[in-house]
Structure formats: structure tokens, C-alpha cells
Symmetry: C2
Subunit: 152 residues, 2 copies
């Protein structure tokens, strides 16, 4: 597989990966269509200015897996007392025909290297059930994050 960095021409590819990832996790198609309608214009300026970056794996020029990376503004915290940002990994996706070959692991290793290069000391992600075992194996562990849906 060849590796390349994401660029602004990957807008639709990233939208497709994000939808497919959430569809695999059991999310509803209508909900995903609404999400993408709002995700696409959110992503475009961030992909253009590099605040959303990442990698694509290609098989003979065809993209078959991808990963997104961001740096998110965060208050200095005991786990990163001198830094005011956290790395964030999102939209990790491997096409069904290319699974069980270590490609997600390869993407996560690219993420680690990129965070090291940028000097980021603490990173987070949100795992699907299917992704969790790999992340655990790679040194990630659960946090104490909690969430609440606020009624309209």
C-alpha cells in the first residue's frame, strides 16, 4: 500500500469514510445524511488550512483506508501541564475488502509519528466497539469522559 497525506481534494473521501465508519457502528442512514450535510462545510476550511490533516492508504492509486488528525485547544491539565492542546484521532476507516491486514494499525502508527513530530504529548479518540481492542493493544485506555444529551 502507498501512503499519502490528506489534501483538500479528499473532502468527499473523508465524508464517505466518516459515514461508513458510523454506519458500521449501527447508526441510521437518515441521521448520517444529515450529519454529512453539516460535516462537509465544517471540514472544508479545516482541510484547506491544515487544522484537519491525516493520511490515506492507496492500493494502486485507489484509496482504501484513511485517518484524520486534529489538534484541539484544551486547558493545561495534570496529564499535559505545559501544553494547551490535545491530539485527536478521528474517522479511522478501512474498506471491508482490506480488513484484517494490519492497515488500521499502520494508520495509528502514522498518527503517533505525526503527534510526536508536532510535539503533542496527550491524545484522545472515541472508539467504536470494533476499534477498541486494537487501540488498547496500541497503548490507549479508557477515560472518565461522560456525556449528556440536552433536551430541546
Amino acid at each position: 500500500m502507498d501512503v499519502r497525506t490528506l489534501d483538500v481534494g479528499d473532502l468527499e473521501l473523508i465524508c464517505r469514510h466518516r459515514e461508513a465508519m458510523f454506519r458500521d457502528a449501527g447508526r441510521d442512514d437518515d441521521e448520517l445524511a444529515t450529519m454529512t450535510e453539516h460535516f462537509r462545510p465544517w471540514l472544508l476550511p479545516r482541510l484547506s488550512d491544515g487544522s484537519y490533516s491525516g493520511f490515506v492508504l492507496e492500493d494502486q492509486g485507489r484509496p482504501i483506508a484513511g485517518i484524520g488528525l486534529m489538534l484541539i485547544d484544551w486547558p493545561p491539565h495534570p496529564l499535559h501541564p505545559t501544553q494547551d492542546r490535545r491530539g485527536y484521532v478521528l474517522n479511522v476507516y478501512v474498506e471491508p475488502d482490506y480488513r484484517r491486514r494490519g492497515l488500521a494499525r499502520e494508520l495509528m502508527q502514522l498518527a503517533d509519528a505525526e503527534f510526536i513530530r508536532r510535539g503533542v504529548s496527550y491524545c484522545v479518540l472515541h472508539a467504536t466497539e470494533k476499534g477498541r481492542p486494537l487501540y488498547q493493544e496500541l497503548g490507549w485506555s479508557g477515560t472518565a469522559e461522560m456525556a449528556k444529551v440536552i433536551p430541546d
Copy 2:
């Protein structure tokens, strides 16, 4: 108790609450001093422009509890498909002499009301062990967030 909103004069109070909260959770003093040295200049502009807001509870003019609120930029997601932000609750702290009187609950209800007022549909926080039961009671539940410390 009287309730008032945070303002820029609360810079040191918020730093003190954040340190005390993490100290209660078992964090080391030296680490917390380093954190605060970096947290203070991070907080000041955000408190000034309102991107960090919140509430203080006072007993006869003396601040005895506080809560911080932020809106964080986030990609539209199945749990908030039309919104590109999440509410974030942080630095929830009640002075030891004022605990077990429902003040943390009152602060969390102020947070909910503020998020409703701002039209935010999905909120997150990171719980200490001590805080978790209250948050659960108020409708918060654990997420699939995972984290990793990146070696230097």
C-alpha cells in the same frame, strides 16, 4: 447561597478551584503548580472574551463553589448531526465546609440551563471518581473516549 456569573476578576479563584479539584483527586502539588502556571495565561483571554464562562456560588459575599463552561468546536456527529460544537463542563468545585448540601447539583443545573439557553444539544465533561455518582444521577453517562500519552 447567592449565584453570580464568572467574570475576569475570577481568574485566580478559577485557578484555585482547578488546583483544589485535582488535588482532591490525588494529583501531585508540583505537577499542579506547573499546570496552573500554564492554565492562568490560557484562561485569561478566554475569560475576557466569554469563551470560558460559568457561575460562582457565594455565602455572604465569599465564593464557596464554582463551575466552568465552554463551547468546543466539534465535527457534526450522529449525536449532534446539525451542530458543530459540544458543551463542556469543567472545574466543578465546592469548598470542603460546604459539601453534602446539594451545591454541586445546583451548579450542574445552572450548566444545563445555560446550555439550553445557548441551544447546545450535546455536552461532555471528565468526571473524578467522587463526582461520577452525581453526574450519573443527573443523566450523564460514560463515553467511549480513549487516551494515550505520547512519549517525548
